[in-house]
Amino acid sequence: MAGEPKLSHTAAMILQAVNAGTIYGFSVMETTGLPSGTVYPAMRRLERDDLIHGHWEAQSIADAEQRPPRKYYKLTRLGKATLEASRKRYPLLAKLIPSEAGEPVA
């Protein structure tokens, strides 16, 4: 698609990680091995470009598990299309972070 933004390898890795089911910041850090100072700003940019969408989980779920609520991220339609284009650009992306790890959580 002509309108898809071209992503850097780091951004593509994070997008792939979110698609693979690592759906919050710290898990993206663990999956990609990138530091927090890289992951969170990159996720802000992806969210600003409408490639991912963040939402807070319900307070009741967090209370039941005795932890604070988390902000989860999932790919948007544009994000999925961009990830497809990025996979062609970076063929090793799928091997680095396999999608089989899980499906995005709604």
Partner: protein
Amino acid sequence: MKLLPILPFALCNRAMLRAAAALVPRSQREEWHKEWQSELWHVRDSCCTRHTEWQSEKEVAAFCFGAFQDAFHLHQHARENLPKTRSLSRAFYSGSALHSLALLAFLAAAAFAVSNLLPGTRLALQPSPYRDPEHLLVISSPHSTQSAVPTIHADQFRIWAQRRQHLFSSFAFYQPQVKPVTLSTHPSAELTIARASSNLFDLLGIHIPLDPIAQGEMPALVITREALAQYFSEDRNITGQIVRIGLRKAKVVAVIPAPRWTLPGHMDAWLLEPDQQAAAIPDNARGFLVARLNPLDKNHLTDQWDMSAPTPSGAAADFTCASLTLPSSTPRSIFLFTFFLSLLALPATTSLPLGEYPANHHKPYGRGHLLRWIFLTAKFALILPILYFGSLDLAYLNPSIDPVTSQYIQIVTGFCTSLFALRWMLRDQRQRCPVCLGKLTNPARVGQPSRNFLGWNGTELICIGGHGLLHVPEIQTSWFSTQRWLYLDPSWDVLFSEPHLAPLT
């Protein structure tokens, strides 16, 4: 495994997040902080189950440091998206044209303010304190090179004052002396006193309330406010008191501010003799002669001229008459003279061409060219008051310096500062982007002098707005004699971190 108390580390991590949150725009701050706090809880939970205490605390701290990068990223993004209404503050970055003009305007205002605060400068800028100063002149011997040296004998004054005059309406005489002045309630003090004919202040147009009864008995003393404060403890009841000046007695009749005296000699007081002829002054005493011209005769006279007049011996002698409003001695005339001199000297200190700025279809040229000249003119207009008031401030900084010395100081400082300022103005203009008028940065050496025949060598400067490059040759050649500007086309814009520096055109 060594166990560490967790609370101080946890508090430290929270403080780091709170500090980073200060960088985040207010509208996003709460949610940002909430997300990072939540993530921190999970990071700590995860790390503490896997590592030793020190290792886990290190990881948690590294995680928290990332919050600063995230916050800084949001901060930068918010700045780049400032609304256009704030474009003025964007154009006000250090090195911009507006910033330079504001700085110059501030300096001009500061120099003006200082000139109003310094008593010497204030006096120099004020009009003459005397009535009809264009009709007043000081007569001196033409052989004297210094105007502050008394040259006229008292008997010369008396002869002229008694003769019927066509050119002059009246004369006054004063002789500077240093005399001990004793007041009954204060210790004796050495003052510089002008022993003068009684009409001195009348001739100058300064109103002094003289007591007619006292005037017939003894000389009247007029003292400056400054001398009163310095030697007589600012005694407010001094007027009307009898003082002893050497062996003579005098009555204090008035206290006046010292700046009202602009004639030759720095005086602490004036001793007005009871008669207009000042008969008590010895014939051979040298002093200054002040004369008032007949109003009708002023029109055909210049500000300084020579005349021949009879002396007490009967022979004629030459005298120089200098107006009290001599144009060549006014601060403005001195400044204009020194500024003109510095303009003449400028080509010897720097090259005058402003460089080659070719027309370019990528960037607007005509209006930018006009703006460059407007900027240069504005700088010139702001520099003038800085130089004028600045040179005056330096010349009249010390009020005890006599006016002639102050004028010499003004000539030297006026010339030096004007030359420096004009040189700076041209050099600054040459190192500015012709599109945004911002200061060019990042000078880089290009080429080698030994290969000057094959290629140019010199300095290359760049506009941080990405508008172009300036090539300044190290050695002037027939094919590269002056600096050249190279416009960059819009395809280079992605490389520059200051895209907000829009052209001024």
